[in-house]
């Protein structure tokens, strides 16, 4: 019943207007990653001929809810948003559903039991990212039994990527008893904090073999701390991180980072495709992973020239 209803509204909307209108409620502009994400969506919308209404929630769930309500009031054709938080969306999503406006989640999931509240979730899986990082490490130290001391730079305490990348990584290395996280601290996803924390790690722990950073920025900060301590990043201390922003890739190509798990912000084109399908009533997968990969130094060298962000 749901499907046909939605299809009807979508079709009628499409018939009346020649242009699809999408309301997008962004989290904020808290990082370079997020800015690239915003840009990708804006560019892709323009390219796909979709009219984009954009709002920035300044990291506040309340503001996002306000924005979504306003999109409902403005009767847009489709709503997309990156939830600030996983929980607490049921009410407003129900309102969208009642107004027969399809919803697409990007980047982060919501934890609603009722999965009919949104059409699909497009984004990376942070747990998988953490797992990929851990798997690489396990492979790297395969066959060795010497204890490996790992330090971890976590993202913002309580944020979903931090929670998931931590648990994914921990899961992956669980089976190898010699891989041991000796210190784990939040670096708030920033370079400055990453550097400050790494400086302290270096002094408190005489032997650090591996650094796992939840994003490139923290890894880049940590590299400065490692260099200031007279050690060689990538050699004396192996570094794995997540994201693959341009600066991170440069460091990877230079051998200062050993491995990066990609978490691509360039969701725009995929999102626009989905939007068109959803508005036209076509069925879509409930969970769509972003196209992303992992990088070794060699791959980084190759990919670097066309890296946009």
């Amino acid at each position: 019943g749901e499907k046909s209803g939605d299809a009807g509204s979508g079709a009628s909307g499409g018939a009346k207007k020649d242009k699809i209108v999408m309301g997008f409620a962004q989290v904020g502009a808290e990082s370079g990653w997020r800015t690239a994400n915003t840009k990708s969506i804006q560019d892709a919308a323009a390219a796909a001929g979709i009219e984009l209404k954009f709002s920035d929630a300044q990291q506040k769930q309340e503001n996002q809810i306000k924005a979504i309500r306003s999109y409902i009031a403005q009767k847009v054709d489709v709503i997309a948003f990156s939830p600030v938080v996983e929980s607490g969306w049921d009410t407003v999503l129900k309102e969208a559903k009642d107004a027969k406006i399809p919803v697409i989640l990007t980047d982060r999931a919501v934890d609603s039991k009722d999965t009919t509240l949104y059409k699909t979730f497009l984004g990376s899986d942070f747990v998988v990212e953490g797992k990929k990082a851990g798997d690489w490490l396990v492979k790297e130290y395969q066959g060795k039994t010497d204890p490996v001391n790992i330090v971890e730079l976590q993202g913002t305490t309580g944020s979903a990527p931090a929670n998931d990348r931590k648990s994914g990584f921990a899961d992956a290395i669980k089976a190898s008893p010699n891989l041991k996280i000796i210190a784990s601290q939040t670096g708030d996803f920033t370079r400055a904090k990453g550097k400050e924390v790494m400086e302290a790690f270096l002094k408190a722990n005489p032997k650090i073999d591996v650094l796992y950073a939840h994003n490139d920025d923290m890894a880049l900060g940590a590299i400065e701390a490692i260099e200031a301590a007279g050690k060689k990043p990538g050699t004396d201390i192996k570094i794995i991180s997540v994201d693959a922003v341009k600066d991170g890739m440069t460091a990877l190509a230079a051998g200062k980072i050993n491995h990066i798990v990609e978490c691509s912000p360039l969701l725009g084109p995929q999102l626009m495709d989905l939007a068109k399908k959803v508005v036209n009533g076509e069925s879509v997968q409930p969970r769509i992973l972003t196209e992303e990969t992992e990088f070794t130094p060699e791959q980084a060298k190759a990919a670097l020239p066309d890296r946009k962000y």
């Binding site: 502009a29 300044q58 769930q61 309340e62 809810i65 996983e86 929980s87 309580g158």
Partner: protein
């Protein structure tokens, strides 16, 4: 009535006037802005902030400040969500969170009064404590699925084609109660006296300590209630909720004409102050095409325009010598 005449000279009224001007500008500029529901939405969207700001008004009137409110709001959502997850009776949950809010406020008030600690630092410690407790409970967000809770949250009171939620009703009751307490009870007058001059209040034989502790307790309860309203708005508990809300609350109070050094101001002004912040947000949403940083810049500019207009209005109405 002289009392009313006095009232009209207050900055709170100036804020209200400017608020109406701004609203008028919005109506002229944006389609659909004149819909009454837009105004109601401001109150629906900011009910929790309003309640928190009312608590803050009490504190600021005594010349104090409470930085812990945002954290207490977050802690409330966290405690409520985790208790509801364990199927504790919602009524009991309500009582518990309000009690926790009161206890935190009481504790800070006691530290401030008995040990003569600056409110800024005592409530900053309270903020760390409350926020820290959130993370100890859980770093994840916890959804609220309790039926009664969510029914109250989504219940709409409809009249003449418009609707409001219970949060608006609750916040209106809080505002009315606060206004009454400040104007018509001994506690209220003691609060103004304390803000006017603490030493004099002491020498006049007023219960300075009790009053001080009371305002922080009130602020704690209001924050907890604000937290409850926030869970009505976003049915979940999360440690990162309401980050920086203390600043919004302080801003609302001060924009509403309450003086940060205490002794002068009205709850009505705070309502207007919250209205200003809400209106700015609404204008931003209606504008709809601002990029992330332009959003911040425009908020700043609108804030500036508000303050300067308010300043001009009050300056014209200012009385002669105030020494």
């Amino acid at each position: 009535m002289t009392y009313a005449a006095n009232l009209l000279r207050k900055p709170a009224i100036a804020t209200l006037v400017v608020l109406l001007l701004m609203y008028g500008a919005g109506v002229l500029r944006y389609d659909g802005f004149d819909d009454t529901q837009v105004v109601l939405n401001i109150f629906i969207d900011n009910a929790f902030l309003l309640v928190v700001a009312v608590g803050m008004t009490f504190v600021i009137l005594t010349g104090g400040i409470d930085l812990s409110v945002g954290a207490v709001v977050a802690l409330t959502t966290m405690i409520a969500a985790s208790l509801l997850e364990k199927h504790v009776n919602p009524a009991l949950v309500l009582v518990i969170v309000l009690a926790v809010g009161a206890a935190i406020g009481l504790g800070m008030g006691c530290i401030i009064h008995f040990f003569d600690i600056q409110p800024f630092i005592a409530t900053l410690a309270g903020m760390f404590l409350a926020r820290g407790t959130c993370y100890v409970i859980s770093t994840d967000s916890i959804p609220i699925t309790n039926e009664w809770w969510n029914n109250v949250a989504s219940d709409k009171l409809r009249f003449g084609g418009f609707h409001i939620g219970w949060s608006v009703v609750i916040s209106a009751v809080v505002v009315a109660a606060a206004a009454y307490v400040l104007a018509y009870t001994r506690l209220g007058r003691n609060i103004y006296a304390l803000g006017g001059n603490q030493q004099s209040a002491l020498l006049m034989g007023l219960p300075v300590g009790r009053t001080k502790i009371a305002v922080y307790t009130i602020s704690g309860v209001c924050s907890a209630l604000g937290g409850v309203l926030l869970t009505f708005y976003t049915p979940s508990g999360y440690g990162l909720n309401a980050l920086g809300m203390e600043l919004d609350a302080i801003a609302a109070v001060v924009i509403g004409g309450t003086v940060l050094t205490g002794g002068s101001g009205f709850v009505l002004g705070t309502v207007a102050g919250v209205g200003v912040l809400g209106l700015i947000q609404t204008i931003i949403t209606f504008q709809g095409t601002l990029s992330s940083w332009w959003t911040k810049i425009v908020i700043g500019v609108l804030l500036f325009v508000f303050i300067v207009l308010q300043r001009t209005v009050t300056r014209n109405q200012r009385t002669r010598r105030t020494t």
